[in-house]
Symmetry: C2
């Protein structure tokens, strides 16, 4: 089994090198072929999905699957047409991320260096329940010239198998598209087998709940792009416009409470706590959000649920919000840097000095001023299709678009240049002049 | 012990957040203070180094240390002045990498997004023998706003301890520079303790031989910036100018044979093998390089050492070169992609189509046309001070300058914007207009 997966990654590596050299029209033609195949074979997809749903309903009745997970598994004609097929075509519509010259330098006369974007290589994707994730990530990988190994949850095995077959068959034999660029793995034991292949797989992307992500991060040496937690804060400063603050906290909590960029704790400056805490209490009560108060805020509202220390590091993913009064900006920043997950943090203030200090001092992928944490998202940030949101401190951070699936190579063009000429007596000097040139294969080539 | 190191990384994390907010003049003043302290305390450094050298000589006599390692340990007045002190000042002279706006986008009226470079956070550095590596990497980390834990080899413990003290004392109390930005760890057991802290340390940089690098890569989940091998090739194409090829192979092999970017195997197109193989044989014999021939090249030269399959994946780091005849460009590319370490690969040809194909199809950090592999180096590439050379496929690849110690954060400025306004009926539309604006803290702040 593990050997099969190793063999699959080997063919994926070779495929990735071929795929990287296709042209933009090749990649986009392959994406359109996938969209058409999904449309024309939607009956097969729905039949497979119905089989999975039947098994899932039984497991749901036995309490072995959650309702939320089962809900996410279900496909319909509408979902295939509106979410999956439109998604594939929108990936095709994204700008081509491959072959961009990021920098160019003349090292010396006739010796020019270019830094050019290239695909990472082989991406492993581990996802649960949502079969649409399979299509989304496969198309993002193709558009970025990466080969991909996909491993879905066993609860969706029939749907995933059919979707994988459709994508493979739709792209088979197309110009520029190698066989084996896409592997859909099935057996249950394979997750750890994938995670062990740190010499073959360049990047793992998990798509699923916190538990899955944490499991993956804890069990592999392959870099994992993603985030385990989204413990996000809104800090309502002494100089906040409290109407703005109220509207932003409401949006950040209730727009989509189970999203990673939903707010979990609101921090309130003590000078405005007497006014703002009752205000947020009323707004949240009307919205159906329950509150957990620290001692100072509980004092203000008189009665309510007391927060414990665990609340500061809990991602509720639910209509629950913790409230804490702080003595000032510094305490807010310290609290966020200690308990936050470095995901998305917002300050509400009309004071520019406070805003600047917060934006600089808070250590997070996204720092916001007078805006809802819910904006931290690839589509809203204008990145196009979203690969995920990363709280890593290397490669990419925050919402990640196609650029996150790229690395670069250096291309150096010379005419017989040797390094020895730039050393010792009579050494030639480097010019190191920044160029504004784009690397292209030599014309006529 | 492990708890001490965990505590040290915790203070380093806090220090990194303070350090990141210093100003360029703070960082540069700290670097100059370090340079001055090293100059004025060079007697202490030399005394400590003499003690290490005495112990090392005894171990050398017992065969427990290699001559090369002992040579690299030794400091002198000249080395301190010329290499270490000048190195510190050259880092100070590098452009400030922090706070650059990499991209800016208007999401909607009054809602502006900036992607701004920030330090990674906490860097762990593990190095052996060269005490100058301690100073170099500490100064690169300071300049890039990163806190750093340094762990040198026990053979240099006295020198490293004194150097660490000098750097800590020189920067203590300076404006913008927190205590604890630099930790020099001593005890022998600590390497694994560092490697286990994947929740505390963001990046490990190894400085030392292949064995050290491979050990580190195999024993940590922390991302490691570096390369284990440098198996580099020069491919002499059918359309090569053989004089150029000869000069380039000579430089790539002999300029510094123990460097990672030295060539290990030369691949020769069969059409030019009868002419080029004897030529390279003569040039290498004159330079004192011994050759290992594949069957076809051995046939041409008549007698010599036969290469075995192991030679294709051996990094000699020595005056040894393997020679292999290939049937064409495709075989050369396949050989390189299979046996190379994705470090630096060069084609020698006057044919533009061959050059373009090679530069695109070879999967390596640096791909070169008509130039020596020895150019793959941070200084020669114009990156300034070099952090290392990476064969990773994430974050940074090839020679890495200060930019490799940076990541970014997103800064979003709004005026009460909420995500709910951009959904449903009457949804506001995002403008997603690319701006040419630089993020600065609000003026007056």
């Amino acid at each position: 089994m593990a050997d099969d997966i190793r063999a699959a990654t080997r063919t994926a590596r070779i495929a990735s090198r071929v795929l990287a050299q296709a042209s933009e029209s090749d990649w986009n033609a392959a994406l359109e072929a996938m969209a058409l195949a999904i449309e024309s074979r939607s009956d097969e997809i729905l039949a497979a999905n119905a089989a999975d749903m039947e098994a899932a309903d039984a497991l749901l009745a036995e309490g072995k699957l959650s309702q939320a997970l089962v809900d996410r598994m279900k496909l319909s004609d509408l979902k295939i047409a509106n979410a999956i097929v439109i998604g594939v075509r929108s990936v095709a519509g994204q700008p081509d991320p491959i072959g961009h010259t990021q920098a160019s330098t003349e090292l010396d006369k006739g010796l020019k260096l270019y830094r050019v974007s290239v695909p990472i290589g082989v991406i492993g994707v581990i996802f649960e329940s949502r079969p649409d994730a399979l299509v989304q990530i496969a198309t993002l990988c193709l558009k970025s010239g990466n080969a991909v190994l996909l491993k879905g949850g066993s609860e969706c095995r029939n749907t995933n198998r059919v979707l994988g077959q459709i994508l493979v068959e739709a792209t088979s034999g197309l110009p520029g598209i190698p066989e084996c660029w896409l592997h859909v793995l099935e057996a249950r034991e394979e997750v750890q087998a994938i995670l062990d292949l740190d010499d073959c797989i360049d990047l793992v992307i998990p798509r699923g709940g916190n538990e899955l992500v944490q499991h993956i991060m804890a069990n592999t040496k392959i870099p994992v792009m993603g985030h385990a937690d989204g413990i996000c804060h809104v800090y309502v400063d002494r100089w906040a416009d409290l109407e703005k603050a109220d509207r932003i906290v409401l949006d950040a909590k209730t727009d989509y409470p189970s999203a990673c960029n939903a707010v979990e704790t609101v921090l309130v400056h003590e000078s405005v706590a007497d006014e703002f805490v009752p205000k947020v209490q009323q707004t949240m009560a009307e919205a159906g959000v329950s509150l957990k108060y620290d001692a100072a805020s509980l004092d203000i509202v008189g009665e309510g649920d007391a927060a414990t220390d665990d609340d500061w590091s809990t991602e509720y993913l639910d209509m629950v919000l913790a409230v804490k009064v702080v003595r000032g900006l510094d305490e807010a920043v310290d609290h966020i840097n200690q308990f936050g997950s470095h995901h998305t943090e917002s300050i509400i203030t009309e004071d520019k000095a406070s805003a600047s200090k917060f934006l600089q001092a808070v250590d997070a992928a996204s720092v916001l001023h007078n805006a809802s944490t819910r904006f931290a998202d690839g589509f809203r940030y204008g990145l196009g299709a979203e690969v995920g949101i990363s709280t890593n401190r290397l490669h990419c951070r925050g919402p990640v678009g196609l650029e996150g699936l790229m690395i670069y190579k250096y291309v150096l063009k010379g005419d017989g240049h040797v390094a020895g000429d730039y050393q010792g007596d009579d050494a030639k000097a480097f010019t190191h002049e920044t160029l504004d040139e784009v690397w292209r294969p030599y014309s006529g080539a």
